[in-house]
Subunit: 114 residues, 2 copies
């Protein structure tokens, strides 16, 4: 079966059986973590709201990421828009400490650039 990649539908997949690598492969794409983060912080969002809250994400990529995150059971698409699934919120809770840490990291980084 030949895969025919079309624009907006990524084809890369993790061959390694390691779950963390599969997760890194999913989250290691542009905006993936940012979308989950924003969605969990602000609650259910529409497509346009997400687009605005995430910064300057293009609709093509936003749509692609949303599909991927939905396939990964991290977000859901109901009548009131997109929202994180329970599992997505679990991941968000594990991301939270990193969010706090990033403040210190940015400080040290700014200091070193003098």
């Amino acid at each position: 079966m030949t895969s025919i990649p079309t624009p907006g539908t990524p084809v890369r997949g993790s061959k390694s059986g390691d779950p963390i690598m599969a997760l890194f492969d999913l989250l290691g794409r542009r905006w993936a973590m940012g979308i989950l983060w924003t969605l969990c912080k602000t609650g259910p969002c529409t497509f346009r709201e997400l687009q605005a809250n995430c910064g300057s994400i293009s609709p093509t990529v936003l749509n692609t990421r949303l599909k991927e995150l939905r396939l990964a059971l991290l977000i859901d698409h109901k009548d009131d828009g997109y929202q994180a699934t329970p599992m997505g919120k679990e991941l968000y809770n594990l991301l939270l400490p990193i969010g706090g840490w990033s403040g210190q990291w940015a400080d040290v980084l700014a200091e070193s650039n003098d």
Copy 2:
């Protein structure tokens, strides 16, 4: 000043002042988290060892990611090869819970694909 991007030298930067978004921008690139993960798990590594342990990463991208992670003060390049800085290890420790969680995530995901 016109920026002239050359292969292997990414140009994207986080405009948002949010540290977590800057971190996501850094980690949201292919292999970034995998490299830090592997480096912290196996200890100091040479270039070739990293290349082997990470799976199938190409030398161009590995070199680019290593430069970025070094600029971000997360890894260091000493005589005995590459290794995580104290700050990089801090981040790794925050990543660890996600590593554990990814196992359950993969299980649920596999179940849903029947």
